[in-house]
Symmetry: C2
């Protein structure tokens, strides 16, 4: 069993690559839920959705989120009614949030809702939220705290971040199957996701970091940093708020206590091994085509 | 002030005709909510929606419900996920239900939600739900009770109805403004709606029938029955379950205690005045074109 820890668009692309190589039932994906939000009264789980759509083969290539070729007629109608519209939900995408919200209102857990939605898409790979409890990534700015989506989507990460915290993480429990999946994995892979706000919330759930330390499986991470910058998104800025170098050395520091192998971009090979005892393998980590995704996953 | 009591598609067409003749602020529309349902976790008010869309000029002419030229991409995605899909919500239509559900979850009343949604559409006419309380039209059949939408949409009224009851009606209060609007009207018009399940629930709300008896305004009703049959829908069958003739005489019996004038179709003129003391005016009551609607309203 290959176990992937993931969040964000880079993670979804990587999981697509893996899914093309590995039988669906031999893959378990553990997903960040710190970005979840209530929007138009619906429970939206952006990272769970991206993985679900990626595995269903309907993730929008153009946008990197939502459903391929989706329409936005409901959103346009919401705008005309004066509803907030900075967070965009497509019409087909809406079905997922309606279904999830309804299942949660029937007292199903987020794990159960996720698995029921995945079955609806014919997905055989196991998709696990990191927790069934509410953990909310909060970004600290000079003007107060923002939810991750307020920071990332509404403000397009143009406000200066001073730090990040994971509201509710200390009381959260890993979702059913998460610790066991890590313990019994053949290999654990940390996707090329933002180490602060995509994999950071997962590692903040009590027990998960410890499970990564204890597992017999090798743990590999793919760097989301190439040279001195994130491939996309605010990973660089957010790493700096934690006193981390925006480099593969900074990535390794996030995972040093359990990491066996870092997969970094060949453009970083001149830097040498950043931390003793952690192997580094250099390859091309940029995922533009389907071939790029599978090559990186391989 | 012209006050209309309405429900269903015939009522929405008639209100469109009236709205073309009367200044928006001189019209108050009191709407059946007995058909309301929770669908995909959303509070759907089919009759309020039809009136809202009619007054916004976006009611689908082809379907008679929902938004003109709407798409059904969310519905299709729901179907693929195995969700029930016999009740159809278009993508633009969904925005209304999302907004209403969110407002209700913020402890707004149905009246407040209705008025806020109407403002969002730029509607100046006052749209009042009959009540802010839950009243549910239940159709009794040999196999048990159905909600109105189960009977009307899911079963296409092909199951034999034995009767109708309005769950919760005896405890319901007329929504703010309803009794006052009737009391201070210049004229009250009962739209050509199903007298059992469209105007029936309105009249079942305590105080409304009494207000119609007491108002100084003349009360007119437009017959939804032409000859021996309903213009559309199950009005005929449902009238029979109440021991009513499927005729203008049957319609008059529903409203006899407060009615001053029945507007009936010219094809029924041979029948003569069905009840003493109630005037009958014959005209064409079929509304196919916009001109038909305004002619009937005039």
């Amino acid at each position: 069993m290959i176990v992937v820890l993931t969040g964000g668009t880079g993670g979804a692309k990587f999981v697509q690559g893996l899914a093309a190589l590995v039988p669906a039932r031999e893959l378990t994906v553990i997903v960040n839920t710190g970005d979840d939000l209530t929007w138009w009264g619906l429970h939206v789980s952006p990272d769970l959705d991206s993985i679900t759509y990626a595995l269903a083969g309907i993730l929008s290539r153009e946008r990197g989120w939502g459903v391929e070729a989706d329409t936005f007629h409901c959103l346009e109608a919401m705008c005309r009614m004066g509803a907030p519209a900075w967070f965009q939900l497509g019409d087909r995408d809406l079905a997922t949030h309606l279904r999830r919200t309804e299942l949660l209102s029937e007292n199903k857990t987020l794990s159960e809702a996720t698995s029921q939605i995945a079955r609806g898409f014919g997905i055989e790979t196991r998709i696990l939220p990191m927790t069934d409890d509410r953990v909310e990534t909060r970004v600290l700015t000079a003007d107060g705290e923002l939810s991750f989506q307020e920071y990332f989507v509404r403000e397009r990460y143009q406000v200066a971040a001073r730090g990040v915290r994971f509201e509710g993480a200390e009381r959260a429990q890993a979702a059913p199957g998460v610790l066991q999946a890590i313990a019994h994995a053949e290999i654990v892979v940390i996707a090329p996701s933002n180490p602060i706000t995509s994999t950071g919330p997962i590692l903040a759930v009590p027990g998960i970091r410890q499970a990564l330390k204890e597992t017999m499986a090798p743990v590999a991470a793919i760097s989301p940093i190439i040279g001195g910058a994130a491939v996309s998104g605010p990973a660089g800025e957010l790493m700096q708020t934690q006193g981390l170098a925006v480099s593969i050395a900074g990535v390794v520091r996030c995972y040093a206590d359990f990491l066996d192998l870092l997969v970094a971009d060949e453009r970083d090979s001149a830097l040498g091994t950043p931390v003793e005892g952690i192997a580094v393998r250099y390859t091309s980590t940029v995922m533009k085509s389907e071939a790029d995704k599978t090559a990186l996953a391989r």
